[in-house]
């Protein structure tokens, strides 16, 4: 069972190792804040989330296919990131959402708010659940 605390720790460790000096000083929350303040493409935020999902799910590198796009309005990033996640082995799109209503089209991406570290933890927990990894607080949730 993966806990929220583990997810948060993993995000901070990855961010510090990849984008800081590896001394524990660089915090993932700072990376999110920097993105929202400066409006630069949040490559570091996306990669940290993806790496955390790999690390906590135990899936080998490239076992998952990812497409991620920070969403924008006319002027700036909205704070949401659209993700498409595919299980590369089966080719199955895990983020596909089919609708029961014929007038509503199926959607293959999920747009998740990533404006705080807590929201990033939610995002990682969501992807882990799609991969069948039990997450604290989401045990009974349907996938």
């Amino acid at each position: 069972m993966v806990t929220r605390e583990q997810i948060k720790k993993t995000l901070d460790e990855i961010y510090d190792a990849e984008y800081g000096d590896g001394d524990g000083e660089a915090k993932f929350a700072d990376g999110i804040a920097f993105w929202l303040q400066n409006g630069e493409y949040p490559f570091d935020v996306i990669e940290t989330i993806v790496d955390a999902v790999y690390g906590l799910s135990g899936r080998p590198r490239n076992a998952l296919g990812w497409h991620a796009e920070p969403l924008r309005d006319e002027w700036s990033y909205t704070g949401e990131i659209a993700f498409v996640l595919v299980d590369a082995e089966s080719g199955r799109c895990l983020t596909l959402q089919r609708s029961d209503r014929p007038e509503t089209e199926a959607c293959i991406s999920v747009a998740l708010p990533i404006t705080t570290e807590e929201e990033a933890v939610d995002a990682v927990a969501y992807f882990l659940r799609l991969l069948g990894v039990p997450v604290e607080g989401l045990e009974g949730a349907a996938s």
Partner: protein, 134 residues
């Protein structure tokens, strides 16, 4: 076998259904907006994928992402596409060394759009008259 003319007609017809008042009247004009002003790439992309769904008759879902090109000379007007077959949930565009779910095409002309439609139809086992230009 689907002909190039059928694809062009389908693109225009599909675009008509998507177009809003005050927006470009034809798909070719929408392409001009995309290449000259850098806007409307989402509508161009959506038209391409809806055309694929119509011509194939398959139950498909897609995600399109007009991208900002850092090198317009080398790779102009890029749009990323993800295509999923709904009944099997399979991502048909999955591939490459990193298992990326998307393919990216340079969509600047009608020929580019026709080639993209041809490529996606070929993934669905449907032949198009001309070889897709990849």
């Amino acid at each position: 076998m689907i002909t190039r003319e059928q694809v062009v007609e389908a693109l225009e017809r599909t675009f008509e259904g998507l177009s809003e008042a005050g927006k470009p009247l034809t798909f070719v004009e929408a392409l001009d907006h995309w290449t000259e002003r850098g806007c409307g790439g989402d509508c161009v992309a959506e038209t391409i994928m809806r055309t694929v769904a119509i011509l194939s008759g398959r139950e498909l879902a897609w995600y399109c992402n007009p991208m900002v090109s850092e090198d317009l000379d080398a790779y102009p007007y890029p749009i990323a596409f993800v295509l999923v077959d709904i009944p099997t949930q399979r991502c048909l565009t999955l591939g490459g060394v990193n298992n990326t779910p998307h393919v990216t095409f340079s969509i600047g002309t009608l020929d580019d759009a026709v080639a993209a439609v041809g490529y996606f139809l070929s993934l669905l086992g449907i032949a198009v008259e001309e070889e897709p230009l990849l």
